[in-house]
Subunit: 365 residues, 2 copies
Amino acid sequence: MARIGQGKATGIKETTATGGRRSVTIIDIAEVAGVSKSTVSLVLKASPLVKSETRERVQRVMEEMGYVYNRGAASLRKSSSSVIGMVINDLANPFFAELAIGIEQALQHSGYIPYLAHTAESVARQAEVVRSMREHGAAGIILCPALGTDAADLADLSVPGLPIVLAIRRIAGARLSSVTSDSVGGARRATQHLIGLGHRRIAFIGGAEAMVVRQGRFTGYQEALQAAGLPLDPSLTMESMPTKDGGFQSMLTLLDRSDALNPLTAAVCFNDVVAIGAMLAVTRRGLQVGRDISLVGFDDTAEAQHVSPPLTSIAVDPAGLGKAAAGMLLRHIADTAPKFENYVGEARLVIRDSCRPPLRKDAIA
Amino acid sequence: MARIGQGKATGIKETTATGGRRSVTIIDIAEVAGVSKSTVSLVLKASPLVKSETRERVQRVMEEMGYVYNRGAASLRKSSSSVIGMVINDLANPFFAELAIGIEQALQHSGYIPYLAHTAESVARQAEVVRSMREHGAAGIILCPALGTDAADLADLSVPGLPIVLAIRRIAGARLSSVTSDSVGGARRATQHLIGLGHRRIAFIGGAEAMVVRQGRFTGYQEALQAAGLPLDPSLTMESMPTKDGGFQSMLTLLDRSDALNPLTAAVCFNDVVAIGAMLAVTRRGLQVGRDISLVGFDDTAEAQHVSPPLTSIAVDPAGLGKAAAGMLLRHIADTAPKFENYVGEARLVIRDSCRPPLRKDAIA
DNA sequence: CTGAAAGCGCTTACAG
DNA sequence: CTGAAAGCGCTTACAG
């Protein structure tokens, strides 16, 4: 079968859904039940206009004939739709999986049915997937933008009448509603926790400067240092990919240039994955996490609990954010929401075992 | 807006997708471009019948007017569809998330677009979701059945002309194609590994007897024992929920009734989660995993690598199974597949640090 | 309560 | 190459 794709339609193949056999329609039902198809339609929408005896007869016939409602036809006629698209950047990450589940639960009794698509952090795939959802007539979209998405990409995806809410990642310059978590507050609390334990030389590791989320977290880190009267030492901040290896390399670098007289004793990490990489680096240099170097992660993933020592982290309740995003989108669809809203979920400190007071210097000497 | 729901249609709400504004159609494009709508349609499917000059003009107009292809209308007219449904039981489990990603990747250039729905192990939700996909005209469905799904449930979901392939979990008595992994072989290899290290009293922990997957794994365990001439001791097999707590309780029970003269030294666990629960029980009783009790898990989840000691497990490549399921479904849709196929993916032993030779008895005394 | 008719946006023969 | 017409399965006024 020929590919479409040259025109405005995305290149998508089609097949007879019914395997050739014509499917049963309301006309067939009407004939067998001895009513008009209007009546069948009325039964379908549970209209009180239909006598209950008639309704039951019609329902019985539908059951017997294996009738399947054709939602596409109905949507076409009504110029309406009942699907909401969820576009997720990284399903393999349990954090985003939880988010998706939260969205789905919140939509459960809304009358909308959520469809999920996965972009695997590809901006191109994201454009494809959003276009396809539009072509399928989605009523709205919740989008976790793929890494590298910019405001222009988002503008291309937007179309009047199709509300989009951004989840987790806000995009600089994008004019869209969003649901994110309190990066600034979370990072501030993480840093304060370390300061409270007595740390003075605290690094900030991981993430790229262009990421809005990292900007927030870095800001929180700065704020806490400032509030405690500690200097911001640029040699203590490292950018990296938000990956285990990124954390590993960054920490190795920091450790190797750490001053013995005034050593690095702690780090706030961009997320748990980076923190776990940093843990490996600490171990690699013969040091001990918790004792020699205290570490805080972000996201409170399941892994944070299972590494050794268990990682102190900032928890952000992805399922709760998912619910918030779903609620916000519903309000946009119903047109009862302000044009642009930003919901910021709380980020709380979960203390485990990766942070202890720094070793006293004379104890080392 | 009134709920539907009494009739055969699922209770789903509808809204104007276009926010009131009528959307631009091929008729509008035709008018502006000065051609007939047939020509626009031909452009859409990249037909060679259209002169390239005309095609370009039409495409320019579509661009300018922000035309969005209405796939629902096209599907209706063609009695066809381009969506494939993926129904997943537990997205929060990275194993199933990987599976979903594998399916999606395999479908990427097939011309079909995958939509994912999540059942959270609810048979009722599963029925809803499958029905909705049918109503939306899905061309086929890949289904990871929710726990407790039986052949009758599946028969209700099936409809002629809508191919379904089962993934991961096969259902006893269901007449459907499936993609599963080699439970028998995997468990056999796990058990052989323990036997090879010198273990003689090896337990089998976790899962419920009704689960087809557990039947396979238990069979593999039996086969290995038999091949080595070891007796099958019923007191060494424990059923439980396939959860951490299930594994914990089972192992506690086994440990507490273990005979000091002929002690339990190893266990094959239904999956990694159960194994991790069992590890906790071993530790709780003051014993050491690896040294006193050797443990093998199943699934090779990320957690298996991160627990301490790292867990030996049976890896089953969920993404590969996803690809296989997608390929099989595509063949069913194209009607080039046998009526019922069963693909069984390999299950290989990944050796880590949770299994060692048993302590010699005289070493204990 | 029920029926006849129009129309949602598209594709598909069929003429020209 | 292009145009006029029918029809996919439904809903929605409008009559009766």
